[in-house]
């Protein structure tokens, strides 16, 4: 009685002593090994429940080589889209007995590299990541030396075969651009991150295709593909919209970019849906209370999160790697009118 009250940490040893059996027998009972008699099972279970024994996951990890931890590396969890992905992913992992270690790379390739190193040293079973820059030479090394399962989020690394959840931005952006072109726009600004990631390249494909359809080239001077952060979008939206000639329509890729751009437009005094046509790529849950309503290309973040977890679990269980494409959908609202 008094022992149970005061003992700091109950180990398998304590259980073995209490039940009067060997360590190995306790282990067998706990893991459901067949070589266990009914009497043995009963004795051990009695001891386990009265002592309140809970196996130590650290010790199990060391011995088994599996930590049941999945790393999750993204640019910034405070981006609502990533937050939704992370949440859905974590729930799904939790359900299968895995925990998630979260790290923000902060759009910094060195931070990301360190994150991978820590994941490696922590011996995580896998990493789900949205890389800062697919092309950086350090990335390939990080992924290989990680020595764990990998699922990429909207990324492709040349020369390495990994599972990935990709988004069909192409379709949504194509439709959005076509929508603008059909309305009469040809001077369309585009503010988003660098082409060193799949996301931007895939979006640009859709953008170019829509122009190609009418036999036109895009005007490079209306492009600002330098960063996903709000600050970059703010500055370049400001520049674009105060230059001559200025775009009559604007697309922004990523929620932070959209935020930065909308701030710039507000400061300049341009009203979306009136003074210019505006389309956001990636929708954010609270967009629906915006006024005027924002036209956007939607993708389901929850599905992305849940599917990335599934793919991870599948690799861990059966080694099967695959790519999954998530569809996007353009919805025209008030903001993509006007501007002409």
């Amino acid at each position: 009685m008094s022992e149970e009250t005061f003992t700091g940490k109950i180990t398998i040893r304590d259980v073995a002593v209490r039940a009067g059996v060997a360590l190995s027998s306790v282990s067998r009972v706990m893991s459901g090994h067949p070589d266990v008699s009914l009497a043995m099972r009963a004795r051990v279970e009695e001891a386990v429940s009265t002592l309140g024994y809970e196996p130590d996951l650290i010790a199990q990890s060391l011995r088994s080589g599996s930590t049941r931890i999945i790393g999750f590396i993204i640019r910034d969890i405070s981006n609502p889209l990533y937050a939704l992905v992370a949440r859905a992913c974590e729930q799904e992992l939790q359900r299968h007995g895995y925990s998630m270690i979260l790290m923000n790379s902060d759009a910094n390739i060195e931070t990301e590299s360190k994150n991978f190193q820590i994941m490696r040293r922590r011996r995580v079973d896998g990493v789900i990541a949205s890389l800062v820059d697919e092309g950086d030479p350090s990335v390939k090394k990080s992924l290989i030396s990680l020595n764990a399962a990998i699922v990429l989020l909207d990324r492709e690394v040349k020369g390495i075969h990994t599972s990935a959840v990709l988004t069909n931005h192409y379709q949504g952006v194509y439709e959005a651009t076509k929508h603008l072109i059909d309305a009469g726009h040809t001077k369309i600004g585009f503010v988003t991150g660098d082409e060193n990631v799949y996301t931007t390249r895939n979006r640009m494909r859709g953008f170019k295709q829509a122009f190609g359809d009418i036999g036109k080239e895009i005007d490079e001077s209306f492009l600002a593909l330098g960063g996903f952060d709000a600050e970059y979008a703010f500055v370049h939206t400001h520049n674009l919209m105060t230059s001559q000639p200025r775009p009559t329509a604007l697309m922004t890729g990523g929620i932070s970019s959209t935020w930065g751009a909308l701030r710039a437009l507000k400061e300049i005094g341009l009203k979306v849906g009136e003074d210019l046509a505006f389309v956001a790529l990636d929708e954010w849950p609270l967009f629906d209370i915006f006024s005027p309503e924002i036209s956007c290309v939607y993708r389901d973040a929850r599905t992305i999160g849940a599917e990335s977890a599934h793919m991870m679990l599948q690799i861990l269980k059966s080694g099967v790697q695959k790519k999954l494409i998530i569809e996007t959908k353009f919805t025209a609202r008030f903001s993509s009118g006007g501007g002409l």
Copy 2:
């Protein structure tokens, strides 16, 4: 050469062999123990760098008893305020060699309880948590049996002394309410979560105080304190604003509540700042591009995150527990006008 290329995992043993010294010596060099000669240090370091040895954190954890992992349990990471807290916290922990395991309790007391159990079994060094319900009997047990450092976010648990980062909601809500009362409002609706958490109780104190100042009691029928989720806020805002008599002003506590309430108002067709005065408790980063602009009570999420990490590190280092109060600030904008 060929060994280095093919070997799967390099252990301290490999290093010891390569350097021709004992395991314990390698360990001493790695940990910076003083009992190491210059020659020894050089030999070991040579071996370490040519083999690319990295100590295994699992093994270190098992032996040392410290995992250098901090658990982070919140209702929902997709709440932007929590996301900002988590991000700042993670950065600060990372900087000091700690990693963060993230878990969403999903506003569910049982999920939260399981989360604590897993944290315990993973032997995390500490947990930073925003509890679902301070009063639930299981919570106290969870916290005690966790056997780790604890920092609570905006929570107080009776009978347990823990560190905590608290917010002075009182002041901000008091000012906001006074602002509405001064404008002539007496029928003020309040939609937020349950009083089983410090956050709501502290907010209600400010709310009541402002009424007390003018010798009035609050009207309980305008209160809806049942949940922080958007759905609850949507339903109860709808109810409140379509009943007779209806409030002329509305306050919502928490970003999800604000979202749900704004959706309901939009659906009903009531314009904030005109048809009713509106104040949001908790501001989120993208508020600034809203139109009309929302009056709100602000608290700095980044500071909360960074400070919670600091407090955690301090407990771990020196065992010092303390409470910290974060101030709030009410800013009147367009939305809190009108309604009369």
